[in-house]
């Protein structure tokens, strides 16, 4: 009886959503009036900022303040998790009986770890030229540290330097915004020279901000995974 009522309610809800979303003109070619910001970013984004990837220039330059808010949200989540973990005891490694990794897995993880970190660094340094950016590169670096936790257990990750790197990267991001206020006209303005198109050192402040975001997200997520593995629930 309960299942029947919930199925009927689900059908009514989905029909309501479908009829409401039918009115919106998704995907059609809107000319002039309704799509002016989109056309402006696509046509003139590369000339004004110098970055070949228009999504990157929108995220960092035109809507840079929202990116600062998003980085703050990640930081608050990490602080919340740290507050929960602070009062728990650490798991003692020699007390639990667990099976250590086989030889193939240990050798493979030791071989793959620097390659994955290199790939993550490639993704966030070339953020303004190819798809990718700071957040994606940071998650790839955190996955490399997760592989190190799973594969070889005798290598210790220095957690103090992770926290230091994360805080420094956050300070650098806000510092660049304040430098834009000092040398330019507004907070987070693009005050460095534009450079040639399609080169690595182009686009003004955009590569520097993405490098800071990449380091910050990577160190944060690696710290969260380390806390989850090592502490008792």
């Amino acid at each position: 009886m309960r299942i029947l009522i919930s199925c009927v309610l689900l059908v009514i809800l989905s029909l309501g959503l479908v009829f409401a979303l039918e009115q919106a003109p998704f995907g059609s070619n809107q000319i002039d009036n309704a799509d002016k910001p989109g056309r402006f970013y696509l046509n003139q984004g590369m000339e004004k900022t110098g970055a070949a990837n228009v999504v990157t220039s929108v995220v960092v330059t035109y809507r840079g303040f929202d990116t600062l808010g998003e980085v703050t949200i990640l930081f608050i989540a990490a602080i919340g998790l740290g507050a929960v973990f602070h009062s728990r005891k650490k798991v003692k490694r020699y007390e639990k009986e667990k099976q250590s990794a086989s030889l193939i897995l240990q050798t493979g993880c030791r071989f793959l770890f620097p390659l994955i970190v290199l790939f993550g660094t490639y993704v966030f340094i070339h953020g303004h030229l190819s798809p990718g950016g700071g957040f994606q590169g940071g998650v790839i670096i955190a996955s490399a540290f997760l592989l190190l936790f799973l594969g070889c257990e005798e290598k210790k990750i220095p957690m103090k330097s992770m926290n230091t790197v994360e805080s420094l990267a956050g300070i650098i991001f806000v510092g660049i915004g304040l430098a834009g206020l000092y040398w330019g006209e507004s907070f987070l303005e693009n005050f460095l020279p534009r450079g040639m198109d399609y080169m690595l050192l182009s686009g003004g402040v955009i590569p520097i901000i993405y490098i800071a975001i990449g380091f910050k997200v990577g160190a944060e997520l690696a710290g969260i995974v380390a806390g989850l593995i090592e502490r008792n629930p």
Binding site: K98, L147, I229
Partner: protein, 83 residues
């Protein structure tokens, strides 16, 4: 014409892997099905990059090829009680 045949074959491979994911009696069968569907998906992404003629889209396939290994290692270490 040839692209249509490729896409049909890859679609059939994904449907077969989904059937094994639903049916498989133990969790190990499902983990192997997930790994196989990721490998087939990487090939699908490369063929779609050829069809759309944008060669900067190949980075996405590279990300998937690297990261699914880590997910499989996590599930396997849980199943042998070593995490």
């Amino acid at each position: 014409m040839i692209v249509s045949i490729f896409l049909l074959v890859i679609g059939a491979a994904i449907v077969l892997c989904l059937i094994r994911l639903i049916k498989g009696p133990t969790a190990t069968d499902r983990a192997v099905a997930l790994d196989t569907v990721t490998t087939v998906t990487t090939a699908l992404l490369v063929i779609l990059a050829l069809v759309f003629k944008r060669y900067i889209y190949l980075d996405v396939a590279l990300v998937y090829a690297v990261l699914m290994f880590i997910g499989s290692v996590a599930i396997a270490r849980f199943l042998e009680k070593g995490i």
